[in-house]
Symmetry: C2
Subunit: 464 residues, 2 copies
């Protein structure tokens, strides 16, 4: 796109939407260039629009289509795949001023929200009504619902309660031509026509922009009971996960931290964790009555049987909250160690021990620190590659390590991303994982939704 196209486009926006907040100053644009993905350094966008209502978004996209300008939707910028990074000459639409919860509908157990609401704010608002919104990425305090919808975010309790896709019953979207379309409503079950909602969830703004969502709620579950188990090796922790599953326990949370993570988290939060353990599992149950205690007794026996050196049940809810909070902030504890790039591999549950072994092998072969934590009950591991801030070869080392991790996950029948998305940072692995025929179907779907290719180009699908 040449400069005159950009200027004409901005002029058209100013004429059509005089009250829209539109940033074009380079200093302002800087904050909208990147997301939280280390080593991604895109150019600044042409401009940033901060609409407050759907009609403005529709008009922006209509003008973008007319001027053939790329559009990048952006939530809170906490993404870990580069899904919201700027595109040269493109308009970034920040949804952070569309941040109103429109309705909490108790009788239908749904909440209707704009996309700019933070996950934690939504949870808190419905909790005040005795209700529970399940999806809880570790970044809950800083991530937006719109970003969660874009990446099909998971989190700590999706093991029991499902991922973001499972929580969505209705959407309002703006299509690539600038049309506002409603999908679904407040009905839980609907078999009328194609599942466009689950198709759009996880498409990272490449098929449509989400301007409103109707999300499923549940009654607030009982308080969790929390078990911590410390292991002398990663292998024994992996075996314990398999043993817990085999024992028929369905925890609400089943998280793993390796030694580097345990120490970094303990340094930050002074929790008195066993700093010599090679791995820790955090297992929770929120079954009512004595159910949770009974489930954790079975899990405890499974952990000890698999070789746990020690186990502790956190009976004090405040203590358990602190542990959960520390786990959620694990990535930030990593960032104190250096530049941390969080990967997001997933493998079939039974392959977790093999994936953990692969991570250790890759770290040793490449002489890198890789600290691993993650939602091990789902088979979803986050290996964090830690690099010296001043290492001039940092990026090259990172690329070698992520390449090895992605290939290992695919080799185990897994995925290169379980909950962060392909975004801009993993496009070269999509075809390797899913195969060229599946990617060809995705391209056909993309063309069906966005024939001009203006919606978040350079994300999700590899260049043709």
């Amino acid at each position: 796109m040449d400069t005159s196209t950009g200027a004409a486009f901005l002029e058209a926006i100013r004429t059509s939407l005089p009250n829209l907040r539109l940033l074009t100053d380079l200093l302002d644009l800087e904050g909208y260039r990147r997301d939280e993905t280390a080593y991604l350094e895109p150019p600044p966008p042409l401009a940033v629009a901060l609409p407050t209502e759907t009609a403005e978004v529709a008009e922006l996209v209509r003008l973008a289509a007319q001027h053939r300008v790329p559009v990048v939707p952006r939530g809170a910028g906490s993404g870990l795949s580069g899904g919201a990074i700027a595109v040269a000459g493109g308009l970034t639409i920040s949804f952070m001023r569309m941040n109103r919860i429109l309705e909490i509908d108790r009788s239908n157990l749904v909440v209707i929200t704009q996309p700019g609401v933070l996950n934690a704010a939504l949870k808190q608002a419905v909790a005040a009504e005795g209700l529970f919104y399940a999806p809880d990425p570790a970044s809950t305090e800083i991530c937006s619902i719109g970003g969660n919808l874009g990446t099909n975010a998971g989190g700590l309790c999706c093991l029991k309660y499902g991922v973001t896709r499972d929580a969505v019953v209705g959407l309002e979207i703006v299509t690539a031509s600038g049309e506002v379309v409603r999908l679904g409503g407040r009905t839980t079950k609907d078999a009328a026509g194609y599942g466009l909602i689950p198709l759009i969830i996880g498409s990272q703004g490449t098929l449509a922009l989400i301007t409103e969502a109707t999300l499923r709620l549940r009654p607030t579950p009982p308080p969790s009971v929390t078990l911590l188990a410390f292991f002398p090796s990663l292998t024994s922790a992996g075996d314990a996960v398999a043993a817990v599953v085999a024992a028929g326990v369905e925890p609400s949370t089943l998280e793993l931290m390796d030694r580097t993570t345990i120490r970094a988290v303990d340094d930050d939060h002074h929790l008195g964790l066993d700093r010599d353990a090679a791995a820790m599992l955090m297992i929770e149950s929120d079954l009512p009555g004595a159910g949770a205690t009974r489930a954790l007794e079975i899990a405890d026996a499974a952990c000890l049987g698999a070789g746990a050196a020690s186990t502790i049940v956190a009976t004090d809810p405040a203590e358990a909250d602190l542990l959960r909070q520390a786990r959620r902030e694990a990535f930030h504890s990593m960032e104190r160690l250096g530049v941390a790039r969080m990967e997001d591999v997933g493998v079939p549950r039974g392959r977790v021990p093999a994936m953990l072994a692969e991570i250790e092998r890759i770290a040793a072969e490449q002489g890198l620190t890789i600290a691993t934590f993650g939602h091990v009950g789902d088979g979803n591991l986050h290996p964090n590659i830690i690099l010296d801030r001043d290492d001039p070869d940092g990026h090259a080392k990172l690329l070698r390590a992520t390449d090895a991790l992605c290939r290992a996950a695919i080799g185990l029948g897994g995925t290169v991303t379980a909950e962060h998305g392909i975004g801009a940072s993993r496009r070269e692995y999509l075809e390797l994982q899913r195969g060229s025929a599946a990617v060809a179907l995705m391209r056909a779907v993309k063309t069906a939704f966005d024939p001009l290719g203006i919606l978040n180009p350079g994300k999700v699908l590899p260049d043709a």
Copy 2:
């Protein structure tokens, strides 16, 4: 399509697949004309193929594309939307000989199956391994997994455990060009690229044919505790549902039967139900330990508070099984009363009392018997329109009643089909419910997957 095209196509099949079972005799074809949807009378298909493996399906579709012959996938023929009814001049592909369970993978909690396996057979096979496949349409004994995938089938326990779409982690499909494509695998969480699996589930064979599925399993839940509550009016039963939800109970089953259903079921099964009640709720919990009993105590109080005349807890598991079985066979009990057409409306939970009132109004206005049962905890009601077998105006009366029911559901923010699919019988309501813009997106998706329009034409999407 003219006759010579059909003959050339059949000749090509016989040449390419000499060992394939291919039916062309009119008497044989008769059994593949209809499904269980009353008053749908399609012509016989050109031929029926009964492949035993994916490669045969792929070759059939490749030839069909070459000869521009429509292809209709068919499971057990128990559908209630006409999704599998024959298309004039088309090839029906029956999947009933692709009926092998390929693997029960305990460590990854998945089962890999061909589509022709019956739902009940799959449940039974995994139960023998201590595992549980959740989706359970009332027709479990006679419906195939392939049909369940096609319609995104629900059932009695999807209130707690989700619908078919929620259970699918991997698919093998044959595309409209005859290509075999694998989607997903054994990994629970995957955010790599677009959600093609949830898009294909529920598309009733109009986007691709499913030749294999990888389905999520769980540990077998504890035995259910069952509460029956009898009400003097439909309204009070509807109020009880709202009260149960408001009390924070999450039952595993929450079913309603109206008086006509209670009597028909009791006539068939001699269960000693309260035949004078206007409505009955069957509420179950499968929480472990004392959790289930406690949940049903709360539900019991909610029912009594809403005006239940009597409640009974079935403590004997055999008695509860009998009740559940009777509920599952309710449609067959209906069929003794006349020609029964089962509708499948869904409304937001809080609108259930209003929908029940609409059903009563429509029955009265049109002078028809409409017997209603359904998965009321999901807002999914099955009004059964009962017509005299000999009534020459039966079809016309049916069309008026279904039209009124569909419009009432849409008017309440609901759906014309919660779990049976649009199929051939509800196409004229798709646009009314979802809007022309959403249907236009569906058409674009259809064209992306099936540019020649050979996959199950005349189903799901209305004629353009």
